[in-house]
């Protein structure tokens, strides 16, 4: 992969990658985005040769390549699993490119888009920038930067090896992608909406409905708490609050648990459940830190403020404008309003509208995935669908809207840049009875931000200026955890390692300090890695095996020898007797019984005699059924005199038996052809000494071929020198003295194997 920016941390990561193929005990966590920053959430993790990536977002404040997480630092083909926590555009945007193959690369530049003529488009910007708005709050980036960020999205397939313009067959990403049902549904909506917009805006289609459908096919769904396993990686997810379908992922690799919270909220609101507290404490918790050490106002106070402002405005005959994003908080606000209206009969004649086509489409998703919401909603659902609002109606365009007296309109975009919310604002701003409630994050540089300081005059979309008389209220409904929630959550979980991501650097630093004082015992490590800065942790997970079946009939005492099949599946080990293999696994064992007939017309006794000369154990008997003479050679091969002219050999295949049988075959052939007699080494009185010398020679030669530098030492020892490390091998006992454990083991094993190769075949049954 061509890496243009091979910075110092990058190279270190590369090295880490190269070792991922082996099963190391190092857990490496690297934020590829959202490290000391907000946006482009993307965390890369590898452990024991398994690679998991969490989220895959773009950074709102940068443009082009720079907006992407640092994918060039990793090898996408190594990723086993991509887990997507929620469906704000930020997080899934890039996914489309991960999972689909685009024909060619295009730079998409918003500059050419007539944004202000397409309200729907503005809406999209609003949506896509949902999470970016945090950035602007915390990093002070302006609206212009944001638009630019979105505008220059790089649509190449960086996962293709080359940049061949037409022929990019497929990205090398081969892993599997998981998200929750609701997230997937919303993801589809957002992308299709984007396609609709780009259809009217640019000629170059970045991707079309087909591409989205293809990527949809690639995405698999997971339900909350459902435990899945991919390549030995077990994972499940918990409710995260934040937005419909948002999930926290718990990943379990070889018994080490990693929790990735994504964006979460521990506060239950009107429709979402609060983030759950996982049942098990994770070993590592990767947690968002967007709000740092700030705390939210209690929800009921915010709600009260919100409804009071609206109620009082309406009672004085005014109109209320709520500029809001299409997804997420909008549904929450509508629920609040609908309920408030229900309880206040005097308001029943005042209409509430929401004017956002996407929000309307999202409503179908909200009406369906009721079971992902909290008990309150689910209980309401028993009587009627709470998202079938009784007092709220959708509004397609301003033409349908009869502006006659008090009304509440929720319109997008939230920043009042254009579209419906802007039109209504222009219309209503000069009447002091009216009010504008800003319920969410107000992006720097937008008109909404401008009116927050309540200037005397505002510039209308038409360019004219008008007095600003309407009331402006800012009541934030955020669904991110604040400091209280974060610290309580961590205190209850007590993870030994905490990694902070998705937070502006200063804010994160403050949070780290404060958390350190909370976990003062010093057993908790809190780490705030920058992008591409790897966090390495060593988990010396003990491998445990379960001995089962016949082998486990009695528990062995210390010093006894245990032999059996070690079967590994995922990260579980079992030791069993070969006979039990088919019982405890889907594997079968087999045996091959061989029966070979050889022409031999000589006397059977001759064979016996010859075999006796070679083999220690030759038993003669007669076959019970046929009464023919048999010889059992080395307890493995049976030689039978089938007829006058044939003998047959029977044996069960295994390397030693095969060898024995081969020699028997050779012997039989020799005997029958009456060729020069096989010269049996008639007790060639080779002395012990000579034999051991011969063996020494062989051992030495073999060791040299394995280790290179092998010298004779005194007292039958061998000195092995490998790259400056020496090992002393005691030939008699096989003991090795060496400082390097690894080398010691290798030499020992090699010596053991050599010995077993040159020594005679052990007699059967020993």
């Amino acid at each position: 992969m061509a890496s243009a920016s091979a910075a110092a941390p990058a190279s270190s990561l590369k090295r880490a990658n190269s070792t991922t193929s082996s099963e190391s005990d190092e857990l490496i966590i690297t934020p590829l985005g959202a490290g000391n920053e907000v946006g482009r959430s993307c965390v890369y993790m590898s452990f024991k040769g398994k690679v998991v990536m969490f989220d895959c977002g773009i950074h709102p404040a940068f443009s082009g390549m720079a907006a992407l997480p640092y994918f060039d630092e990793i090898d996408p083909s190594a990723i086993d699993l991509l887990l997507v926590t929620h469906s704000f555009f930020n997080f899934t945007f890039y996914l489309s490119q991960l999972t689909m193959h685009l024909g060619h690369m295009i730079f998409f530049d918003l500059v050419y888009l007539p944004i202000y003529t397409a309200p729907a488009y503005a809406l999209w910007v609003q949506l896509s920038l949902g999470p970016c708005c945090f950035t602007s709050i915390f990093s002070g980036k302006g609206w212009l930067a944001l638009t630019r960020a979105c505008s220059k999205v790089f649509f190449g397939t960086i996962f293709s090896d080359g940049l061949s313009p037409v022929n990019v067959p497929q990205t090398t990403f081969k892993g599997r992608v998981f998200m929750t049902h609701a997230t997937k549904a919303i993801y589809k909506l957002l992308l299709s909406d984007y396609v609709k917009v780009s259809k009217v805006s640019v000629e170059d289609m970045l991707y079309d409905e087909q591409d989205i459908l293809r990527s949809m096919d690639k995405i698999e769904v997971i339900d909350f708490h459902q435990t899945l396993e991919v390549n030995g990686i077990r994972f499940w997810c918990y409710t995260a609050g934040h937005v419909l379908g948002a999930a926290m992922f718990m990943v379990d690799i070889a018994g080490v648990r990693i929790l990735y919270t994504g964006d979460y909220s521990r506060e239950e609101d009107r429709h979402l459940r609060a983030a759950e507290l996982p049942q098990f404490s994770p070993d590592v918790c990767i947690i968002e830190s967007t709000y740092g050490v700030q705390n939210h106002q209690p929800r009921h106070i915010r709600e009260k403020l919100f409804t009071e402002v609206i109620h009082s405005t309406i009672s004085r005959g005014g109109r209320v404008l709520i500029p809001a994003f299409a997804l997420g908080r909008a549904q929450e606000l509508l629920l609040i309003l609908d309920e408030y209206w229900e309880n206040h009969r005097d308001l029943h004649n005042v209409p509430i509208y929401y004017a956002s086509p996407l929000a309307k489409r999202c409503m179908a998703v909200y009406q369906t995935y009721i079971n992902s919401m909290n008990d309150r909603i689910r209980n309401q659902f028993a009587s009627s669908n709470p998202f079938d609002f009784k007092h709220i109606s959708p509004l397609k365009s301003l033409d349908e809207f009869r502006d006659v007296g008090p009304a509440v309109v929720m319109a997008s975009p939230g920043g009042l840049q254009s579209g419906l919310s802007r039109q209504l604002f222009d219309k209503w701003c000069s009447d002091k009875r009216n009010a504008c409630v800003l319920p969410g994050y107000v992006v720097e540089g937008t008109p909404a931000k401008a009116i927050m300081s309540e200037p005397k005059e505002v510039t209308l979309a038409s360019g004219l200026s008008a007095p600003l008389n309407m009331g402006v209220h800012y009541i934030s409904f955020s669904a991110h955890a604040d400091y209280n929630q974060t610290s309580t959550f961590l205190k209850e979980l007590m993870p030994p390692n905490i990694i902070l991501v998705h937070g502006e650097a200063n804010e994160m630093g403050r949070l780290k300090q404060k958390l350190l004082s909370v976990f003062a015992d010093g057993n908790t490590k809190i780490i705030t890695p920058k992008n591409c800065q790897s966090v390495e942790m060593h988990f010396n997970s003990q491998k445990m095996a379960k001995t089962i079946g016949k082998l486990a009939e009695k528990t062995p005492a210390v010093g006894e020898i245990l032999s059996g099949l070690l079967v590994k599946k995922g990260f579980t080990y079992q030791i069993m007797a070969p006979d039990d293999l088919h019982v405890f696994s889907q594997l079968s064992t087999g045996s091959v019984i061989q029966r070979i007939t050889i022409p031999y017309s000589g006397a059977f006794a001759v064979l016996k005699h010859r075999l006796n000369l070679i083999y220690e154990s030759v038993e003669a008997s007669t076959d019970e059924e046929s009464g023919v003479l048999t010889l059992k050679v080395h307890d493995k091969v049976t030689v039978k005199q089938e007829t006058e002219n044939h003998v047959s050999l029977h044996w069960t295949a295994d390397p030693i038996s095969d060898m024995v049988s081969d020699s028997v075959v050779a012997l039989v052939l020799n005997a029958s052809r009456e060729l020069p007699k096989l010269m049996v080494e008639s007790e060639q009185e080779t002395t012990e000494d000579e034999q051991s010398k011969k063996a020494d020679k062989i051992i030495h030669a073999l060791l040299v071929s394995l280790f290179g530098d092998v010298k004779y030492e005194n007292e039958g020892k061998l000195l092995i020198n490998v790259d400056g490390t020496t090992a002393l091998l005691e030939k008699q006992s096989g003991e090795v003295e060496c400082e390097n454990e690894g080398l010691k083991e290798r030499v020992k094993t090699a010596y053991r194997r050599i010995i077993s190769a040159i020594k005679p075949i052990p007699p059967p049954g020993s």
Binding site: A382, M544, A545, E560, I593, Q594
Partner: protein, 770 residues
């Protein structure tokens, strides 16, 4: 020794009775399923209630597998009467749809007037005859109440598929997980794991992916469980025709009748298979632009469909995909009209129509009434989509040849008039006073049926349905559906903690002449009547509430039963749309899953025996088919202990990869680790020799192809594979151990030749030698 496992059937073995079994794992007792039949025959529950054995009180957890009567029907009754207080586990759809099923059952027996009819009477007059004609099938039913249903269901712990639930307390170490079983929405087979040993309870599964509703079961991916408990219900059912063909047959039969101007009654369950049927019909109507009306008639039809809409996660990939693509929920039914009362159906203009009505057994409910109405017309068709429960009307009608006439009991609830009414009023007044008194004394009143069970048919019966609006946090009961329904003039006792049915004890004073009466009470109280009619008016606006009719019990009434003979002239068709695996598939799945021990339940004696024999031969040597209340021990005779694998040992182990598994041979010395566990260390001495193990599964057909591709002439001859000129290859399988994995013996025979060794090499290449 392994985990101790006992299975004790309480109901539903060697017959097709409802399912209920006690599975005890290391002393922790699971009651798996708690079913009842449509007649609610209390004798079936005897094993559960038997005092001496203390079965009910020993239950530690209840697992439910399907949302129908046969699997969970007895839950409310058992929890109330036998005092089962253990936590209940089910999936969300099983919980919801099960609840609706029970509501429907209750209402089918209990509802007094047909709501629609009552409202259609513009002036509330007490013309007995006119009311009589609009009355419905009811019975004196007092086994459980809506409150019992609610309280049984409200504490169900809902799990999602493959969610591992770690049991705490007594059952520490046990993990339960529901897994997709097919058959019904949310249908579950349960995996209970302890110490790595799986006990799987899988009944009524369906391996087939359905046309619309459900994905097939994932049972096949769980091989070699220690114990598998499964049913033999369909063991004798021969292979089913392809689904497409079956669908076509169904639709052909329907269209034939409709075109001949006949009506079709499809007796269905409340919230189970009917969902699939609705989708099939809906889709067919859509594709063929049919205009014949389809009606779905149960007391809870609209709730059922509403809930179905919110269960997309549980349905097939196809439905999920279509929702993603078009955001059209599959259960936005365009061609199906949902009805909750029969009068609504009667208002429909005459003409061919298809009605899906509960219950499937035809014993009670709308289907019963409609059957009685329609049976006599030969144009009509009654289409059974599932086998009727044993001893029900549906089963009788499914017999071959179908009966010419059947006797049915028509029970009607009629309002009280004259003397009876007055007696009732008096009783009421007195009780109201009593109750006011009691209310101050008794803080917590047990909620119970208002009906005196022992009273003979014809006695004044009272139903006072009072549902308090659920508290706004909704925590109390799942009663939201009915919160808008104003019930009657009675005020619930201030002491009652939650919404529940008040209990009035029917005590009568007797003297020598019978019951003591007060003549003054026998005057008509017109005022009350007016009030009642007003209340009825109130309902008009809220009729859209599916279940509003439940509580229209304001007027006193009684039940009158009569026996009637119905001549069955309409055609009767039975088609299997049960969504269960057929016999052949069951056998195939079983031999694939190949449990170490197999327990067979639920199925006729014949089917059970048949499957048992088959499994003994082909699946595993331990097949049990226990009798009712016979406790069998299926503890696995498996031994196990844990050892630590030392790094030193592992660094020398060379794994060979075989599919999901990696296998190696180890020789190790047992040592002790620091923490006292056994650990395995590398041998310091020479490893003892061992018999070589050949690992691998060889299929003769595959091997034949392989040899052919290697340029060797091969053919099958007399059960052996003849390779080349002289070499033969024969597989001597262990025939009692099919599937899963086993020890295969392959015999290679031939004369000494080059070919022999070549073929041997090819054969070896199919194995891993360890």
């Amino acid at each position: 020794m392994g985990t101790s496992v006992q299975v004790k059937p309480l109901c539903g073995v060697y017959n097709e009775n409802p399912l209920s079994y006690l599975v005890s794992i290391d002393g922790f007792n699971f009651l798996v399923d708690c079913g009842w039949n449509d007649q609610f025959d209390t004798s079936l529950l005897e094993p559960l209630s038997r005092k001496g054995f203390r079965v009910a009180s020993s239950v530690d957890a209840v697992l439910l597998s399907h949302p129908d009567t046969l699997h969970l029907g007895a839950l409310p009754y058992a929890m109330k009467q036998f005092g089962i207080s253990a936590p209940v586990f089910a999936t969300e759809p099983v919980y919801r749809l099960g609840l609706l099923t029970m509501y429907d059952h209750y209402l089918s027996r209990k509802v007094k007037f047909d709501l629609g009819n009552l409202l259609s009477l513009s002036a509330f007059d007490l013309d007995v005859d006119s009311v009589f004609s609009h009355c419905m099938q009811v019975s004196e039913f007092d086994l459980f109440t809506l409150d019992d249903i609610d309280s049984a269901f409200q504490n169900i712990i809902r799990l999602t598929y493959s969610q591992n639930y770690y049991v705490s307390g007594k059952g520490e170490g046990i993990v339960i997980a529901p897994l997709a079983a097919g058959h019904l929405l949310g249908g579950t087979f349960w995996k209970i794991t302890k110490d790595g040993e799986d006990v799987i309870y899988a009944v009524d599964f369906n391996h087939r992916k359905e046309k619309l509703l459900l994905n097939g079961t994932v049972l096949e991916s769980f091989v070699r469980p220690a114990v598998l408990i499964t049913d033999a219900y369909n063991a004798l059912l021969s292979n089913q025709p392809p689904r497409r063909q079956k669908d076509q047959q169904l639709l052909d039969a329907i269209l034939k009748t409709l075109r001949a101007d006949g009506n079709i009654l499809v007796p269905v369950d409340t919230a189970g298979r009917v969902l699939e049927l609705l989708l099939i019909l809906e889709q067919y109507w859509e594709h063929h632009h049919l205009t014949y009306p389809i009606f779905f008639l149960t007391y809870v039809s609209s709730s059922t469909v509403d809930y179905a809409k919110s269960f997309l996660e549980w349905m097939s990939d196809k439905i999920a995909k279509s929702f993603e693509d078009s955001r059209d929920n599959a259960f936005l039914l365009k061609h199906v009209t949902l009805l909750i009362s029969k009068s609504e159906l009667e208002k429909v203009p005459d003409g061919p129509k298809i009605v899906l009505a509960s219950m499937a057994s035809l014993e009670v409910g709308f289907s019963h009434d409609i059957f009685v109405d329609w049976a006599a017309d030969s144009k009509n068709l009654v289409l059974f989509t599932e086998r009727g429960q044993f001893g029900t009307l549906a089963r009788v009608l499914q017999s071959d040849p179908p009966p010419k006439a059947v006797k049915v009991t028509m029970s009607k609830r009629i309002p009280l008039v004259g003397e009876e009414l007055a007696a009732y009023e008096e009783e009421q007044n007195r009780k109201r006073k009593e109750e006011a008194l009691k209310a101050t004394l008794i803080k917590e009143e047990e909620s119970r049926a208002t009906l005196g069970a022992e009273q003979a048919v014809g006695d004044p019966m009272i139903i006072d349905a009072k549902i308090k609006q659920p508290s706004s946090n909704g925590a109390a009961l799942q009663h939201g559906a009915f919160k808008d329904v104003f019930i009657d003039g009675f005020v619930s006792p201030p002491s009652s903690a939650g919404p529940m049915f008040p209990f009035y004890e029917n005590t009568f004073e007797w003297d020598d002449f019978g019951e003591v009466i007060n003549p003054d009470d026998y005057t008509r109280n017109d005022e009350d009547m007016d009030q009642a009619s007003m209340q009825v008016g109130e309902f008009n606006g809220k009729l859209d509430e599916a279940s509003a009719s439940l509580f229209l019990d304001a007027t006193p009434s009684k039940v009158v039963s009569s026996e009637q003979t119905v001549y069955v002239k309409c055609s009767l068709v039975y088609m299997d749309f049960e969504g269960r695996s057929d016999g052949g598939s069951i056998k195939k799945i079983l031999s694939h899953v190949s449990p170490l021990k197999l327990v067979l339940v639920h199925g006729s004696a014949e089917a059970t025996e048949h499957l048992k024999e088959h499994c003994l031969k082909n699946v595993c040597p331990y097949v049990f088919a226990p009798q009712i209340e016979e406790s069998i021990d299926v503890t696995s005779d498996l031994c196990a202990y844990k050892v630590q694998l030392s790094e030193k040992l592992m660094s020398n182990v060379l794994f060979k990869k075989l599919g999901d598994f990696e296998v190696a041979w180890v020789d190790a010395e047992v040592g002790k680790a620091e923490n006292g566990t056994l650990s395995l260390l590398p041998l310091s001495t020479h490893p003892p020799p061992h018999k070589t193990v050949l690992v691998g599964d060889i299929k003769m057909a595959d091997f034949k192809q392989f040899l052919a591709s290697q340029g060797i002439q091969v053919e099958f001859a007399g059960g052996a594979l003849r390779c080349g000129e002289h070499v033969t290859l024969r597989k001597v399988g262990d025939s009692s151990q099919k599937g899963g994995g086993n020890i295969q013996h392959i015999i290679l025979e031939g004369p000494l030749s080059e070919e022999y060794y070549k073929i041997r090499d090819h054969l070896y290449s199919q194995f891993y030698a360890l």
